[in-house]
């Protein structure tokens, strides 16, 4: 506890108004990063004693030190660290892709497909129903037409569908989990991410055509999806092929090579609108399944995974919009509970139809609560496309993500302990 307090007090002094005249606030990124690395890790380690996951500690530390509470990390620090955040996400996605071993997942493909299908359909329908029946409680929908309510709810449902693969893999790595539940949760989270991008494009186009009739139903989005998803897959295959060849023939400076892969994936996706998560998932998947050295690559990344997770999750904590949460906390809470109920139903039906054991039907839903990344990106697109209620929508989604991102890892960790898969990884 003393080191935690000491580093906290030091940062308090460094950021105090007495020293401010000597400081260069434009150069605060590195000090913020160094502080959050140590502070979040120590904070997470203390929370771990209360049986909470490390990454919940990282996220909470990020919130505590972020722009809404102590302001040790300023909004411009968060913005400046976007590139490092992107690098961390790419590395996490590489690991997640590498965990998708075909041999292991072969027997579970039916269950994963069913769970993804039922979760998607039930969550979408459920949120449309919530929109219709609860619109009198949503101030900005009260005066909206039924079609506008439909558009709003469909988009909210779409954004509620995905589960964060980054959080999932972080908890799996932390708990050293392995087994049926682990595969089902990770497999579904990854597969759902692909589908959600496609479904979002459809939902956005449908919503635009019903909420703004002058727009009409625009099929050009199909081309865009093809370009975004197809392009990401192609780049992922290219990079994955490159990794295989590199590991086979060059073998030298592997860490630098992997960092470069992460950097270039981020750059390419950032500049041309592709999905870094998809690119690295595919690349990791390819390296793991089609190369003898894939395991070495993944274990090399996993070895230094803790600093990567600290940076990624502490920054995601610092970026959580507490202002939005304060504004819409009650509605957000209702959405979180409703999403949980729908996730349970979707998982239950998916597992039942594929005759999974009773435990999966009853408990696997707890692995699908976390939500971030993809949903956040989509919320920004919605905000741009629907100026009348885009702001309120964004605030609500941010608040929902904030709650889910805090409780999601705890649910998944508890699940993996409950089904005794934690600590099973050799």
């Amino acid at each position: 506890m003393i080191p935690l307090l000491l580093i906290f007090v030091l940062m308090l002094i460094l950021k105090s108004s007495i020293l401010l005249p000597f400081a260069n606030p434009d150069q605060s990124t590195s000090i913020a990063l160094g502080f959050i690395l140590v502070f979040a890790y120590l904070f997470g380690s203390h929370l771990k004693r209360l049986s909470l996951p490390l990454i919940t500690g990282f996220i909470l530390a990020g919130i505590l030190c972020g722009p809404y509470v102590l302001k040790f990390i300023t909004p411009s620090d968060v913005q400046d660290l976007d590139l490092l955040d992107g690098l961390a996400l790419s590395l996490i996605a590489l690991t997640a892709g590498g965990e998708m071993n075909i041999q292991r997942l072969k027997g579970r493909f039916k269950s994963i497909s069913a769970i993804v299908f039922f979760q998607t359909v039930i969550v979408l329908l459920g949120f449309v129903l919530l929109g219709f029946f609860g619109r009198s409680f949503i101030s900005f929908l009260e005066e909206g037409t039924l079609l506008q309510v439909f558009a709003f709810s469909l988009l909210l449902g779409t954004l509620s569908t995905p589960t964060s693969p980054a959080t999932t893999i972080a908890i799996i790595t932390e708990t050293k989990a392995s087994g049926k539940y682990t595969d089902l949760v990770l497999g579904s989270a990854v597969v759902k991410d692909f589908f959600v991008i496609v479904i979002f494009a459809f939902s956005l186009s449908i919503s635009k055509s019903v909420a703004m009739p002058s727009h009409g139903f625009d099929l050009s989005f199909l081309l865009q999806i093809l370009e975004e998803v197809g392009g990401s897959i192609l780049i992922g295959l290219f990079i994955g092929g490159g990794i295989i060849l590199y590991l086979k023939y060059i073998k030298r400076d592997v860490t630098i090579f992997i960092l470069s892969v992460a950097f270039f994936s981020y750059q390419i996706s950032h500049n041309y609108g592709y999905h870094p998560l998809l690119i690295c998932l595919i690349a990791g998947f390819l390296a793991e399944n089609f190369s003898a050295q894939g395991k070495r690559l993944i274990s090399a990344i996993e070895k230094s995974s803790i600093p990567i997770y600290v940076v990624f999750f502490a920054l995601s904590g610092a970026s959580l919009n507490l202002g939005a949460l304060r504004q819409t906390w009650l509605l957000a809470l209702i959405c979180v509970v409703w999403r949980g109920v729908l996730k349970f139903s979707g998982t239950f039906f998916g597992a039942r139809i594929t005759q999974e054991e009773a435990g999966v039907q009853k408990w696997a839903w707890a692995g699908f609560i976390s939500q971030a990344g993809v949903a956040l990106g989509m919320a920004i697109v919605v905000e741009h496309n629907f100026p009348e209620w885009g702001d309120e929508f964004m605030a609500l989604v941010l608040a929902v993500i904030a709650i889910n991102q805090i409780i999601g890892p705890i649910f998944l960790q508890r699940l993996l302990f409950k089904v005794k898969e934690a600590g099973k990884k050799p």
Binding site: S30, I31, A32, L33, V38
Partner: protein, 403 residues
């Protein structure tokens, strides 16, 4: 498309490195250039503003923490080897020699560079020119231990000259970096400002006191049983924190991290446990740092730059070769110190680069841009000849001594 070219370039360099290095001797210039990672500066150069512009100024802003980490890392590693227990093994005269050598190189280099800069840039403020001149003197006084460490395995008969040279290159950096810290603490304020002494001393005290405190914290954190991953988080986090604090207060990251390294090294008892971790992390961080140094480099050519580079190379030779016999007399040194022993000190390697980048980032001025350019050209050229220098000096002197 540019990103793909750059990616291809990176693979090509790694591929060439893998092919070349295994087939060449340790002390061939090309081999040293590859294995010490200097080739990555050119990769960075091609990725930066002077090349594909992938590491554009805005991207570099996003990567500032990595530059800060790189500088901090170089400083920490350098400080970590300065363990009192190890240094005490060497005779007092070795320490006196290191200080005398530092003083001579610094004063000669500082004086000549100050005069040259005054001549080349008559319209610039004298305060700035003399400052940069002294910084050149300090840069010349810094030596890199990397070349001698790599050469150790290739030296057939290691004798007193080898050990003396290793001691000198390890310690000379300390004097140079400490000198730069003193100089930059006071150089913050133009001469006509009031209370320079007080304010400069306060900055120096903060630059030294803060990393000592963090070094102690690091020791406390690692005193109990610590896993490798915990150690990695603490190490990265605290090095970031210290070099970040130096950026935040416009101080020298290299110096503050060196003090962190010295403090921790002299408090901890887990050297054995930490070395493998440092070794496994060092290379990727160092290479990343070199790539970013290359990207920061704005290459331009003019006659003044060429002359200053020439002067730097000339002084690198002269300031180390000329005074050796004199040192022998002044210190009554137990070992003969022929002029050619000075050829062992041509390399300033990564520590020299970090030194130059540190100054440029702490004082972003047109003159520090010039300083960085001259330093990069000068260091890269002397690095190419430094393996030859080691062969001509230590190899032969140790052989002769054994005979």
């Amino acid at each position: 498309m540019r990103a793909i070219y750059a990616f291809g370039l990176l693979i090509l360099i790694a591929f060439l490195g893998a092919r070349f290095i295994t087939k060449r001797k340790v002390l061939s210039p090309i081999n040293y250039f590859f294995s010490a990672g200097f080739i990555y500066i050119f990769l960075g150069l091609s990725l930066g503003r002077s090349g594909f512009n992938i590491l554009s100024p805005s991207v570099l802003t996003g990567l500032t923490p990595l530059i800060s980490l790189g500088l901090g890392w170089v400083g920490f590693l350098f400080g970590f080897q300065l363990e009192a227990k190890y240094l005490r093994r060497f005779p007092r005269k070795y320490k006196n020699l290191s200080f005398l050598q530092f003083l001579f190189v610094f004063l000669l280099g500082g004086l000549i560079f100050s005069l040259a800069l005054k001549q080349f840039f008559p319209s610039e403020r004298t305060f700035l020119l003399y400052g940069i001149g002294l910084a050149f003197g300090l840069l010349l006084s810094v030596n890199s231990p990397t070349l001698l460490s790599m050469a150790s395995s290739a030296i057939p008969k290691r004798g007193n000259y080898h050990y003396l040279a290793r001691f000198l290159v390890s310690v000379s950096g300390f004097w140079g970096i400490f000198g730069l810290a003193i100089f930059s603490s006071f150089w913050h304020f133009p001469i006509f400002e009031s209370k320079i002494f007080l304010r400069g001393s306060l900055l120096l005290m903060f630059s030294s006191g803060f990393p000592i405190l963090i070094g102690y914290l690091f020791h406390v954190l690692t005193k109990k049983k610590t896993s490798e991953e915990q150690m990695l988080v603490y190490l990265l986090g605290l090095v970031f924190f210290v070099s970040g604090a130096s950026f935040y207060f416009n101080l020298l990251p290299l110096y503050m991290s060196m003090v962190l390294g010295i403090t921790f090294s002299n408090l901890t008892r887990i050297h054995e446990k930490l070395y493998p971790l440092l070794l496994s992390t060092e290379k990727p961080l160092y290479i990343t740092f070199l790539i970013l140094v290359g990207a920061l480099w704005e290459v331009y050519f003019d006659y003044r730059l060429a002359l200053l580079v020439g002067l730097m190379i000339l002084l690198r030779f002269m300031a180390y070769i000329l005074p050796m016999p004199l040192f022998k007399v002044i210190l009554d040194f137990p070992l003969n110190l022929p002029s050619r022993f000075g050829l062992s000190f041509l390399s300033s390697g990564g520590i020299g680069l970090a030194f130059a980048v540190s100054l440029k980032l702490a004082f972003p001025l047109p003159l520090t841009d010039l300083f960085l350019s001259v330093a990069l050209f000068g260091i890269l050229i002397t690095e190419l000849v430094s393996p030859w220098g080691v062969r001509m000096s230590i190899f032969k002197l140790d052989k002769e001594e054994k005979k």
